[in-house]
């Protein structure tokens, strides 16, 4: 394996440096141990390693979302089992360079939002800052009480053909990747423990500990026990997985903008218990999206009034707003001089060669050499293009734009990134790679901590340089091997479980609502699946030449499907009943049809995804497998038989989801809300189903078949047979299903469960109160009505109509009470979220 790799390098044009192979075909010292290992174990073992690593990540639900691609949501995260390697010596150099760069950028930042002397003195061109979108005038002169203003910082680096490490990009606004890095390392440690030990791979946990310490340190000046939240743009964001993962690992509450509100100049978290003051916000929302009042008026991701709270120092936002001004390729051209001027030393890590077009000579150079350069906007979200790839008209257009607004453009040299061994298509091949390092301020030491590791990414194709997650790169764990010469003790890993407990004490209303609906959709899906399977079975077993609408049992099942899913008219129309296949498929597969099984399962999944910081790892795995089954159901041209098989698997997985939560979930609000949703849904479904299947009388045989189906759909057939050991009769069926409190599938049991969970949560969260709440009144009314019901009366037939009027009324009554209780629960706990306010910009041009 290694020999063919070396040969590949030797036979290449030698344009790129390789991490494993020297120019004359020797193995570099840092790769010797690893190369031996791979040679010894062989391809099969590496392939197996990839399999295990991928499974590990998949099962942990590690994903990376792609914007603008519905099916791209939750794409699995790719990890190459072959790491990127730096030895301790080269790392010490990189580390020193990154530290210096962090300090330098921090001092530049302080100047930009302070006296701006560097601009005044001409060391930083005026336009580079004042014309940059990241220069937030609203953030001017607002400082953290710390020498270090730049708290989190990451940089993308690559090794050029001369062996030097180049900085390609500085990320300062809301740098991402530290969570994926942690997951990558966890997966690698699980799969290759001995390899990590033998190579003395440095631990990365100190990074997260320093971040934690720094945040407490920054906020401890005014508060003893700060409330720290992580602000995410939400589940649709490309790195949402990381936000959920990091927040639960660090023990911070994960929130979206809607969870927060500004009142009295302070920031508050809307919880199911009311408002709680927030002291620190770690933001993953981009700067100008953070406050629609002062920045982008149409942002739905931010918090109105946040900037005022920041100005009054009532809340700390990390990284501080305004830091994006450092994400500025134009600045790279001036760093060497600035480093000399500010720190009095040479810049250790060079940036990729950069020409800023705001100066005439540089602009002319860029335009003359446009074919050999990368042209970039100085703004973070601006364009990046290879001049050489442009058509001549595109080129003319670009040159025009450079001439019109030269300040906005830089030209950069193309760096030939070094290649490193990568496992692609079951083969060890050389691919260009980029490394992202992570720095965090240690405010107590007034120094920066560099994570001894990081996130590397390699291109899937040969000779490709533009490496980004959006364009489909493969991630790599990054190993710093060998002992440090200036060894420091590694801090113990933060125990996630312990922190998780503490965090659960706060339940944002929106999260609570999601959990409630997670429970509801779980139950709705399970109910629909059970009924659907029975209907499909009956349909598939029916004779070829049967007229569906004349088969009473099958018709009743189909009509109850329509009722249960609320997708009428559906099977209540004769023509649909005559040819049910199309409607059946639609009810199973149409994800956009509200009430369809696919829609319910999708809603179950998306609520699960939005609350994933509350759910255990094992639960994520089940969500993942439910999602796979759903895809099978939805795949093109699936026959009803295939659907039936997939439903079988699905119901088992749904039950596993529930079972796992019974076993694993601590009995906090999370648990209670999930279950209140679940039992509310099942009580309601129960009433609908019984009304659809049992309210009419037919001939003896049909009745029995319907009763049996009713029992089966409620998973009570076995219990019935065990308990009554007799033929089916309506009275016993109703007794077992309605009032038998020992039967966990009975209506009375379900409604009692809602009440239990409600009561427990309220007494835990709010303490006892003497007066019954309106919610409890509704629930107790329902329970009492069920307990007092006269079963014989329910079985009284209206001879004229041939139906059971008392039963119908009774079921309607209970369904109404449960529905009212559900609405009251929403009002009591989620009222902050239920009314999503319309935001109106009041800025208008006066008439004149």
């Amino acid at each position: 394996m290694i020999n063919s790799y070396l040969q590949e390098i030797q036979s290449s044009d030698g344009k790129f440096l390789d991490e494993l192979s020297t120019r004359d075909g020797q193995i570099t010292p840092k790769w010797v141990k690893l190369a031996n290992y791979y040679e010894t174990v062989g391809s099969e073992k590496v392939a197996e390693g990839l399999e295990q690593v991928s499974r590990q990540l998949r099962e942990n639900g590690v994903t990376y979302n792609l914007y603008g691609d519905r099916d791209g949501l939750n794409r699995p995260w790719n990890l190459d089992p072959i790491p990127m390697v730096f030895d301790a010596k080269e790392w010490e150099f990189i580390e020193r360079g990154l530290k210096q760069r962090a300090h330098l950028l921090n001092l530049i930042l302080k100047d930009i939002y302070g006296s701006r002397q560097l601009i005044r003195d001409g060391l930083i061109p005026f336009e580079l800052i004042y014309h940059h979108q990241g220069f937030l005038r609203e953030a001017d002169k607002i400082m953290l009480d710390s020498e270090l203003q730049l708290i989190q910082y990451s940089a993308d680096l690559a090794r050029g053909s001369n062996g030097q490490m180049w900085v390609l990009d500085d990320r300062t606004d809301a740098p991402s990747g530290a969570g994926y890095t942690l997951e990558n390392r966890a997966a690698m440690t699980r799969v290759f423990p001995e390899l990590i030990r033998e190579n003395e791979v440095q631990k990365i946990s100190s990074y997260y500990q320093t971040l934690k310490d720094t945040l407490s340190q920054l906020s401890s000046t005014n508060i003893e026990n700060p409330r720290i939240v992580m602000l995410t743009p939400g589940p649709a964001n490309e790195t949402y997985f990381e936000h959920a993962y990091l927040s639960s690992f660090m023990g911070y509450t994960l929130v979206v903008g809607e969870d927060l509100t500004v009142s009295d100049g302070h920031v508050w978290l809307k919880t199911i218990k009311g408002l709680e003051k927030v002291d620190v916000i770690i933001r993953r929302v981009d700067d100008v999206f953070c406050d629609p009042l002062e920045f982008k008026g149409d942002s739905q991701l931010g918090v109105v009034g946040l900037m005022e709270a920041v100005r009054q120092k009532n809340v700390l936002v990390i990284n501080p707003l305004g830091v994006r001004v450092l994400e500025n390729p134009g600045l790279m051209a001036f760093l060497p001089k600035l480093c000399q001027h500010i720190l009095g030393e040479d810049l250790i890590l060079n940036s990729v060669a950069t020409w800023w077009c705001g100066h005439t000579n540089e602009k002319n150079y860029v335009i003359e050499n446009i074919d050999q350069l990368v042209i970039r906007s100085i703004n973070a979200f601006g364009e990046t293009v290879f001049g050489g790839n442009l058509s001549s008209s595109e080129k003319t257009d670009l040159i025009n734009r450079i001439n019109t607004d030269p300040y906005l453009f830089v030209g950069q040299e193309v760096v030939d990134f070094s290649t490193t061994p990568s496992w692609i298509n079951n083969k060890l091949v050389a691919r260009n790679a980029v490394f992202r390092g992570f720095m965090v301020a240690d405010v107590l030491e007034k120094d920066y901590h560099v994570m001894p590791g990081g996130l590397s990414r390699s291109a899937p194709e040969q000779g490709v340089f533009l490496v980004s997650n959006q364009s489909g790169s493969i991630s790599k764990d990054t190993w710093i091997t060998g002992k440090r010469t200036d060894i420091v003790a590694d801090n113990p890993v933060i125990s996630p479980s312990r922190k998780l407990m503490r965090q659960l004490h706060v339940m944002p209303s929106r999260t609570g609502e999601r959990l409630f609906w997670l429970g509801r959709y779980m139950e709705r899906s399970a109910y629909t699946i059970r009924l659907m399977r029975m209907a499909l079975l009956a349909y598939n077993e029916a004779d070829e030449d049967i007229h569906v609408h004349e088969d009473v049992v099958l018709s009743a099942l189909l009509v109850s499907l329509t009722n249960l899913t609320g997708t009428g008219p559906g099977f209540t129309e004769k023509r649909t009943l005559k040819n049910p296949e199309k409607e059946l498929l639609s009810l199973n597969t149409d994800i956009y049809r509200i009430g369809s099984l696919a829609h319910s399962i999708q809603s179950f999944l998306s609520n699960g995804y939005a609350t994933r910081d509350r759910l255990s790892l094992d639960t994520w795995r089940i969500l993942e497998s439910v999602s796979n089954e759903l895809n099978k159901v939805r795949k093109n041209n699936a026959s009803l038989m295939e659907v039936y098989d997939a439903l079988d698997n699905m119901v088992i997985r749904m039950m596993a989801f529930y079972g796992l939560n019974i076993d694993n979930m601590t009995r906090t609000s999370t648990w209670h809300l999930l279950n209140m949703g679940r039992f509310l849904e099942s009580s309601g479904n129960f009433c609908v189903l019984l009304r659809s299947l049992l309210s009419k009388k037919y001939d003896m045989e049909t009745d029995k078949e319907l009763w049996e189906n009713t029992l089966r759909s409620n998973e009570s057939l076995v219990t019935y047979r065990y308990q009554y050991r007799s033929n089916l009769e309506l009275r016993s069926v109703l007794e077992l299903l309605l009032i038998t409190e020992s039967n966990p599938r009975s209506l009375v049991y379900q409604v009692l469960k809602i009440d239990n969970h409600y009561q427990e949560m309220v007494s835990k969260e709010f303490g006892h109160s003497t007066e019954l709440s309106n919610i409890r009144k509704k629930l107790l009314e329902a329970v009492t009505k069920i307990r007092l019901v006269n079963i014989d009366q329910l079985c009284t037939l209206n001879e004229k109509k041939n139906n059971y009027p008392y039963l119908i009324d009774f079921l309607n009554d209970i369904e109404r009470l449960v529905r009212e209780a559900s609405m009251l629960i929403s009002e009591e706990f989620f009222n902050h979220t239920s009314s999503r306010f319309m935001r109106i910009q009041t800025a208008q041009l006066p008439e004149i």
Binding site: F126, R137, S263, D264, E308, M838, Q841, T842, Q844, L845
Partner: protein, 300 residues
């Protein structure tokens, strides 16, 4: 000249709001040719939280929130301001320095950042094709800057038609340039775009203009509402103000409230309201001399 100004902003919401957050820039400040004798402001209903800060451009910016249910918001700002004749009134325009010298000077670090920032494009001030050529008709080679500016002011005034209701906040300069229609904001943004497109530093000024004309003089456009005009930086004179809407060199009848890159920096009142329906805004401005007020009182 002394003026009493009453500036009332009314918002009426279609459905009640439980929460609103606002920022406001409508506090006149002391300036070289302007003294603020008194200023008072009332907000109805009274805010739960109110805080005032100096913004990046040294304007007084007020943030306030109302956290109880309300259907109407009224802000009343009353000020008494005395204006004096600015130093630029005595300058002979043809004796000012060539505009290119100013443009070159701005490119150097001799010029303060606070001045230089006003030659860059901004949210409402972009450079549509042809605008440089339009500006250069007045700013011909070597022409004294003030003379060129007065010429530009005059040309805009005669080329453009004052048309209330034709434009709104989102109308870009390019559209204004194309149709040559708009209100004072559009005149100001367009003038600024002309100046910045040729590398000069120009600010947006928001303020007020006297409501009633002196006897025998016509009533001026821009009265009865907030007004906007332009300040051009000329070394030695500092910021010199021009009003293209009235084809004027600003003297002692323009009350200044705030300075910024464009309207977005100095919006008199903006906010975010948590409410389901629409809202209506009404602004009224009344600017009078003290003697007029006395007459008014007597007649009542």
């Amino acid at each position: 000249m002394k003026y009493h100004i009453t500036h009332i902003t009314d918002y009426v919401y279609q459905s009640p709001s439980s929460l609103c957050h606002n920022t406001m820039v409508q506090t006149p400040c002391d300036l070289p040719f302007q003294q603020v004798e008194s200023f008072e402001q009332t907000i109805e209903p009274s805010p739960q939280y109110i805080q005032s800060t100096k913004d990046f451009f040294d304007n007084e910016k007020v943030y306030f929130s109302i956290e109880k249910t309300h259907s109407k918001l009224t802000v009343t700002s009353k000020s008494v301001v005395t204006l004096s004749k600015p130093n630029w009134m005595d300058v002979v325009p043809s004796e000012t320095q060539p505009w290119e010298k100013v443009q070159q000077w701005l490119q150097t670090t001799e010029a303060m950042n606070d001045i230089r920032q006003f030659y860059l494009p901004s949210k409402h001030v972009e450079f549509p094709t042809g605008i440089q050529e339009y500006a250069r008709q007045s700013f011909s080679e070597g022409r004294p800057i003030m003379e060129a500016m007065l010429d530009l002011n005059h040309r805009i005034h005669s080329d453009f038609t004052f048309t209330p209701g034709f434009t709104d906040i989102s109308t870009p300069v390019s559209k204004v340039f194309e149709t040559k229609k708009g209100v004072c904001q559009d005149y100001a943004h367009f003038t600024i775009a002309c100046l910045r497109s040729i590398g000069l530093a120009a600010k947006y000024v928001s303020g007020y203009l006297e409501t009633l004309p002196p006897p025998g003089k016509p009533k001026m456009v821009g009265a009865d509402a907030s007004h906007a005009w332009v300040a051009l930086y000329i070394p030695g004179l500092d910021w010199v103000e021009f009003d293209a809407t009235n084809d004027l060199l600003v003297s002692d009848m323009h009350v200044r409230v705030a300075f910024g890159r464009d309207f977005a920096d100095v919006t008199p009142l903006k906010g975010i309201i948590y409410s389901a329906g629409n809202q209506m805004m009404k602004v009224s401005v009344d600017v009078r001399r003290p003697e007029e007020l006395d007459q008014l009182k007597q007649s009542v």
